[in-house]
């Protein structure tokens, strides 16, 4: 059983305070949803947790199983079991997707695996998330559709088997089949690996699929509401205004 605690997190971007003291905790196997209107700081929170150089933590801490990981290098956080699926991952033309997958698999998932085993695993995963094998031979995200990007992020999550995964809008721009594959993957990893999740989303649908445990609403850099799936239902019916004002 692991616990990820975010305590009183204050984050500045280019001199402007975007997060003003956010606290919550997630345990292994729990699925938390993070909702809130555009510009409320959801992506900022995910990037700050992972340590993007532009997002400066001015106060507060991130604790993983009693270890303060606030100021660790990003790759060290990943080694300790954190994972971020990007909302809109950047294209890295020169690096082949297959090269990246092999590299990360070697470093994180199974450092002692043989090349044949790795290839076998990557092939299986590719199939599971419904990606064409030909994409593996392309530059990372080079000419990928929105849906293919999301599936590729999920593929990497399945490969790395993190303790905690932050998924930034895994459901936006994804078709019905894509949504089902992504939700199934989330559930599968929860069952097999007891992974805990923070899923950033605007839609109730994915949360219904995975049966989220908690829903948080972030507004202007602070958590203004927390509750069960009922909260997501309310947002779906009445919009954010009803929740924020109440």
């Amino acid at each position: 059983m692991s616990i990820l605690k975010v305590q009183d997190l204050h984050v500045e971007v280019e001199g402007k305070e975007v997060l003003k003291g956010v606290s919550f905790e997630v345990r292994s196997g729990e699925i938390h949803a993070l909702m809130g209107p555009n510009g409320s700081g959801k992506t900022t929170l995910s990037l700050a947790i992972m340590g993007h150089p532009k997002y400066k933590i001015t106060k507060g801490s991130i604790i993983l199983d009693d270890e303060d990981i606030t100021n660790l290098e990003t790759n060290e956080k990943v080694k300790r079991g954190l994972f971020l699926a990007f909302q809109n991952p950047v294209e890295i033309g020169g690096v082949k997707l297959s090269t990246l997958l092999v590299a990360e698999h070697n470093r994180i998932a199974n450092p002692s695996g043989s090349v044949t085993e790795i290839i076998q695993r990557i092939r299986e995963m590719t199939k599971t998330v419904g990606l064409s094998e030909s994409l593996l031979n392309r530059g990372v995200f080079e000419g990928f559709s929105g849906g293919e990007k999301k599936r590729t992020e999920i593929l990497q999550m399945m490969l790395l088997k993190p303790k905690f995964a932050i998924l930034d809008e895994p459901d936006s721009g994804v078709d019905v089949d894509g949504l089902r594959v992504i939700a199934e993957s989330i559930k599968k990893l929860k069952e097999e690996n007891n992974t805990g999740y923070i899923i950033i989303t605007h839609y109730r649908r994915i949360l219904d699929y995975v049966n989220a445990d908690r829903v948080h609403v972030l507004y202007k850099g602070a958590l203004v509401a927390s509750g069960s799936m009922e909260l997501a239902k309310k947002i779906d019916e009445k919009g954010y205004e009803g929740v924020i004002k109440s």
Binding site: V78, P89, I92, G94, V95, K96, T99, I108, E133
Partner: protein
């Protein structure tokens, strides 16, 4: 299929792959550059300084040259004085005074074909680089030039039996005067530009190779050039004539110890591929960071002949290299793959290939990849010219630049002159700057900053790596990682 590139953790082997393993020599040469090669004291028999008629007459006399060569040298000197300094050179080179350099240095050693005959202090340079060993194992022939003179020249029997001639140009000038005179500075006239003229006036040492009709040499031959001391000029000349239907792979290696002041290199390479012949010319330029490097490279390709240039412009402070091919026979083809690395403040790598389509159905392909960081400057100046009448010709140019930080610069000046309507000329150019977001993404996949950087860099030159013989791909890989290590140390 898509996993070929990672099979057994190695880079994909191509059909171009030579059936030999040169890792050892390459590793030695890299390590030497980074740690081992030191300047040592050795005895010099003759030193000539000062750019004057007298100096040139003296060099010519030492070499016991025929009258025509002395005249060529003196004419070159006149041209050098007359021709303007190219206006696109960095300022510092405009003020370079060649007369301050030692322009001719004859080390105190006679040319030999036995390493045992070479004095220990000079031999050490070569031992550290692993050259005698690699010669034994992999090479068909080797000419080693130290300072201004060839000190070692040896060709294996399997080559001499087939009639291959390989020797320093001075020797070729005496023993094969007709063929030497026919080709020397024929395709690269000394009047071409100021530094070609300087080369004509002062040339010394180098390699001459003649491959007879239909002889295909399966082992590569090498010319290895060492600048041993500072404030020195080296002006070697390499001349390769591949007769009809023949094949040769020539490797050019360059090295210099870390010097306190600078040294100057102004070499020339002329390649002649006759009908159906193929010449592959690979250069690994790994001068130390105090060397100013000009290398004048030009080839001609007769009917159905092929010229392949491969250039790794890795070392030196200033480097100016533009491999060029004149496709003068029908169906002739040429490729030029160039990787340049400008890895520090004040480093300047000027490169760019030139392809002249002077006959119908000729083909050319240029791939130029520039990598810069730490404030280095990369410049591409290329030319594709399709003459009127060169119908059905095809040319493809790709020049890409990768900059790893904000203070690094890259410029591209490609020129296409297409005078024939029935020709297909394609050009691509891309500039990449490694972004904070890319680095962050890779680090989010558990890869540390240094590895992420080298992944981005190696990914960038993947296209060239795939076409390199395996040994060179490995070596490039290693040099780049070592250079990036410096980056990590700074950051």
């Amino acid at each position: 299929m898509f996993f070929n590139t990672v099979k057994d953790g190695n880079v994909e082997m191509t059909e171009e792959k030579l059936s030999l393993d040169m890792n050892e020599i390459l590793n030695a040469s890299i390590e030497a550059k980074y740690e081992k090669l030191n300047q040592s004291e050795f005895h010099r028999r003759i030193v000539e300084s000062g750019l004057s008629r007298g100096t040139i007459e003296e060099i010519s006399k030492i070499k016991k040259e025929p009258e025509w060569m002395l005249r060529l040298r003196l004419k070159s000197l006149e041209l050098f004085e007359k021709l303007p300094t190219p206006n696109w050179l960095p300022d510092i080179l405009g003020t370079l005074n060649v007369s301050n350099l030692e322009l001719y240095i004859k080390p105190d050693v006679e040319q030999t074909n036995s390493w045992d005959q070479i004095p220990k202090e000079i031999r050490e340079y070569y031992d550290v680089l692993g050259i005698p060993e690699s010669e034994k194992k992999y090479l068909g022939g080797l000419v080693a030039v130290f300072e201004s003179e060839p000190i070692y020249s040896n060709v294996k029997e399997e080559l001499t039996k087939k009639g291959v001639i390989m020797m320093p140009p001075e020797e070729a000038m005496r023993r094969y005067p007709d063929v030497f005179k026919e080709y020397f500075t024929k395709i690269f006239p000394v009047s071409d530009h100021k530094f070609a003229a300087l080369h004509g006036a002062l040339w010394s040492g180098g390699v001459f190779v003649y491959v007879p009709k239909n002889v295909k040499i399966t082992t590569p031959v090498e010319g290895f050039f060492i600048i041993g001391s500072e404030m020195e000029g080296q002006f070697e000349h390499t001349l390769v004539v591949a007769d009809e239907g023949s094949y040769i792979h020539f490797i050019e290696g360059c090295s210099a110890p870390q010097l306190k002041k600078y040294s100057f290199h102004d070499g020339m390479v002329e390649l002649y591929a006759k009908k159906n012949a193929r010449i592959k010319f690979t250069t690994i330029q790994n001068w130390s960071k105090n060397v100013i490097n000009f290398n004048n490279k030009r080839a001609w390709a007769d009917e159905n002949a092929t010229i392949e240039w491969v250039e790794g412009s890795l070392g030196s402070r200033y480097s100016f290299v533009y491999p060029s091919t004149i496709l003068r026979g029908q169906n002739a083809s040429s490729t030029s793959l160039v990787v340049t690395l400008a890895s520090g403040e004040g480093e300047w790598k000027d490169s760019g290939s030139k392809m002249i389509h002077a006959a119908p159905y000729t083909k050319s392909k240029i791939v130029n990849k520039n990598i810069g960081f730490g404030g280095g400057v990369n410049i591409y100046r290329g030319l594709v010219k399709v003459n009127k009448g060169a119908k059905g010709s095809k040319a493809f140019v790709k020049c890409d630049s990768l900059m790893l930080d904000e203070k690094t610069k890259a410029y591209t000046f490609p020129h296409n002159q297409v005078l024939e309507d029935d020709a297909d000329v394609a050009h691509e150019a891309h500039t990449f700057r490694m972004s904070e977001d890319q680095l962050f993404y890779l680090m989010n996949r558990g890869i540390d900053e240094k590895e992420a950087t080298s992944m981005l860099v190696l990914g960038f030159i993947d296209e060239i790596m795939k076409e390199l013989p395996f040994e060179y791909a490995t070596m490039l890989n290693k040099v780049i990682k070592l250079e990036l290590d410096k980056l990590g140390a700074v950051a």
